[in-house]
Structure formats: structure tokens, C-alpha cells
Amino acid sequence: MTVLADVSLRVNGTPHEFALDTRTSLLDLLREHLDLVGAKKGCDHGQCGACTVLVDGRRVNACLTLAVAVSGSEVVTVEGLDHPLQDAFVHHDAFQCGYCTPGQLCSAAGMLDDLERQELPVSPAEIREWMSGNICRCGAYPNIVAAIEAVA
């Protein structure tokens, strides 16, 4: 028996209302209901970071977020992201296959705020530590770090 719940979200600035199976993750809502396929389902266990989006300005793993639990929130995906990081990733060639890139971009945008709250400098060492929740199987890490450092 499916249990439905009312969910309202603003996604990339646009308000939406849904009646959703309570089991629906924010990631599945974005990909399957709104056709926003930038956030990827890499591991579906919060271990790879490919699904990272911003909820009320904070980076989270959309795969571990129940859509019903964030009803009322503002969500930004890579499709709605407008940040100098995007040009920096291109300029620094911060990807190879590109699969993890939407998650890397949203995570990096959220990380810059996280570091500011923590009053930490945006150094290569801190970037590596604070981006450790985003895996890049192509190993583009050096250029990802360079791109983020260029924007900081």
C-alpha cells in the first residue's frame, strides 16, 4: 500500500506541488518527476556525492533526503546554479567524463559557505578535506581543487 504525502518545494526558483509516495527521495523527485537529471544517482547511499544539491542554501545528499522531509524548502540543482565555479571548472578542465560534475559544483558552492561559517581559509588542504564527500572516478581531483581555489 502506497502512502501519499503532499509535498511543496521551490526548485530553481519555481514552486511545485506534488502528491508523492513517502518513500520518494529528493533525488528521484528531481530526476523522475521534474526531469532535472543533473544530479546523478551514483551510489544511492550518500557515499559518492554525485547527487549533491543545495537545500535552503546548504549542500546535502539528495539520495538520502526524503522529499517529504524537506517539504517547504528551496532547492537548487546544477540546472539552477549560477556561480563563478562553473566557468572555473571549464577553465581548469576540472572533469573528464563529467558524471560527478553536477555534484562537485553544487558541493563546492555549498562548501565555500561551510568554510566561511567555520572561519577556515579556502586552502588546497581544506578543499581536499571538505570536498571528500564527492568522488571522481576519473581522478580529476587536482583540477577540481585548482578550479575551486581560483574562485575562493
Binding site: 518513500r23 547511499h45 522531509a69 561551510d114
Partner: protein, 311 residues
């Protein structure tokens, strides 16, 4: 994932009343619970979302300690100036845990109540007395490199995965629930003959806050975590310690079914023992399994190293 109903509690009374329903579970950040539901290790009938209760602040107490709301996100707790100045090891422990994304979602109470990452517990095709009482513990003879060396029983050799809880245990924190106050060192249980219960909490008992007492020498404290890669991995061994004013507080992570407060080592140091002898005194009770004997030496060396840094 099995079907479940969802209720967003707007008051403690409402949360506790809703949680009385059979199969109800409280939902915090969901970073562990939702994952376990996807694995069908957890199959709640009802999730009672408690993240909208008014427990989101970190405040100084009248006694000079710090009171942490149960719903404070791990990232916000780590960023709190009160915590960073008075209990730096707690901030370090929080930042040593999980990833930036997970810390933004995970709550104080949820961090305490996360379940073990023992591979048998998380795999419903395997026996596990923690998940299904009476089915046995294959980890004792199986994959247990990262499991317990202290306080385990024949029914369970799991470890508690939290970093934050180790610092709270070291610094005499008290967990406040809807019905009582529990010293953090007594919140988590040893497995004994009922590993299905991680904590002493009763069904429907809700954590509302964690209080740290005034502990001036904890301004000099450290959390050191030893793991298999530089970041985003669970501890093999970790140490939270404060040392100063002729006093000491020590707890280990990664060694037992609960954060392991090192009372024997503390007593030895107060009695004038060397750090190495104090570490020996604590680890004398270790009973390593076939493949995790390395943790005994690692725990001793990590403790000595942290104390030397603080001395």
C-alpha cells in the same frame, strides 16, 4: 524500501504521542536511517520527523557549560564558537566525521543514535543478532578487522561509529530526554546478550538536548582519528582527550559497542603514571579478535601521542 507513513511533529507532546504507535521511529537528518530503510535493515511503519521541534540552538548554561539542542546540525555544532573555544576536541570530532553534505543534514541526537556500520548488520541476507536477535554473530569468525576489541560478547562484536559521541563521553556530557537525564557514558550499552539495543533509551523516549558541564581544561583538548584514508572514513581507533590543571579526560572510539571512556587510564595519570603506563592500564582489558589485534597497539600509541601533544 518498505512503505511508511510520515508525520511532522510540531511539539514534543505531539512527537511523543505519535511515537507510541507500533513501528514508529523518530526521524532526524535521516542520513543513517533512510539508508538503512533502503537496505531494509530498518522497516518503520511511521516516521515522526522531529527536526522542526525548537531544539536548534547552542547556548551557554548558568554553570558555564554548554547546552546543545538535539536538532542542531553537526555542521552548525562544529562551527559554534562556544564549542570551538571550550571543547575544541568536540568540534574536531564533528569535522572528522562523515562528509560536508552529511554534516549539514545530521543532527546531534541522530548522530548519537546512528547504528553500527558492521557489514553483517547492514546486509539482510546475513545472520546478525543485532538486527535479528538470536541469529548469531558471523563477524566473530568473519570480517572483523574494524570491529570491537573491548566489551564485546559472543552475540555481537560491533563498534559504535560516532566521532562526536566519543568527545561527549570524554567530557562528562549529559543527555537530556523527555523523561530523564542520562550521563553520555551510560547512554550506549555493551552488547551483552541483547545486542539489538544500542542504548538505554526506552521506546518513545526522545532526546531533547545534550549538556556539557563546565570543564575549563577542555579548552586544551584534541580529537585524533586514525583511519584507512585521509578523510571520509570511519575510525579504526580514535581518541578524545583533555589534559591540564592536573586532571585528564579520555575516551576512545572504534574499540567497543559504545564510546569507551578510559577511566583506568585517567586514574593512572592522576596517580602519576606515565602516558605509556596509563595506556597499558586501559588496554589490559582488550580481547582482540583474530584479525583486529592491531587495534590494541594502535590505541595505545594514539593515546600517548595525543597526550604528549597536550602536555
Amino acid at each position: 524500501m518498505k512503505e511508511f507513513a510520515y508525520a511532522r511533529a510540531s511539539s514534543v507532546d505531539e512527537a511523543v504521542a505519535a511515537a507510541a504507535a507500533p513501528g514508529a521511529k523518530f526521524l532526524g537528518g535521516g542520513t543513517n536511517l533512510v539508508d538503512l530503510m533502503r537496505l531494509e535493515v530498518e522497516t518503520p511503519k511511521l516516521l515522526v520527523d522531529v527536526t522542526h521541534l525548537p531544539f536548534h540552538s547552542v547556548d551557554e548554561t548558568a554553570e558555564g557549560g554548554v547546552r546543545i539542542g538535539a536538532g542542531v546540525r553537526n555542521s552548525d555544532l562544529a562551527a559554534s564558537r562556544l564549542v570551538r573555544e571550550r571543547y575544541p576536541a568536540l568540534a574536531e570530532a564533528l569535522l572528522a566525521g562523515a562528509s560536508g553534505q552529511l554534516r549539514n543534514a545530521a543532527t546531534t541526537a541522530g548522530n548519537l543514535l546512528q547504528r553500527t556500520r558492521c557489514p553483517y548488520f547492514q546486509d539482510v541476507t546475513k545472520p546478525c543478532s543485532k538486527r535479528e536477535p538470536g541469529t548469531g554473530c558471523p563477524a566473530r569468525e568473519g570480517e572483523h578487522r574494524n570491529l570491537a576489541i573491548i566489551g564485546w560478547s559472543e552475540h555481537c562484536v560491533a563498534t559504535h561509529p560516532s566521532d562526536m559521541a566519543v568527545a561527549l563521553a570524554a567530557f562528562d556530557a549529559v543527555v537530556e530526554t523527555t523523561t530523564r537525564r542520562i550521563p553520555a557514558v551510560d547512554l550506549h550499552r555493551l552488547p551483552g546478550d541483547d545486542p539489538s539495543r544500542d542504548t538505554v533509551l526506552e521506546p518513545g523516549e526522545l532526546i531533547v538536548a545534550v549538556e556539557l558541564p563546565r570543564l575549563p581544561f577542555a579548552r586544551r583538548s584534541r580529537y585524533r582519528k586514525v583511519r584507512e584514508r585521509a578523510s571520509y572514513a570511519f575510525a579504526l581507533v580514535s581518541v578524545a582527550a583533555a589534559y591540564g590543571d592536573g586532571d585528564v579526560r579520555i575516551a576512545f572510539g572504534g574499540l567497543a559497542h559504545k564510546p569507551w571512556r578510559a577511566f583506568a587510564a585517567e586514574e593512572a595519570i592522576r596517580g602519576g603514571a606515565s602516558f605509556a603506563d596509563a595506556a597499558e592500564a586501559e588496554l589490559a582489558q582488550a580481547r582482540p579478535l583474530r584479525d583486529n589485534g592491531y587495534k590494541v597497539e594502535l590505541a595505545k600509541r594514539t593515546l600517548v601521542s595525543v597526550l604528549e601533544e597536550l602536555a
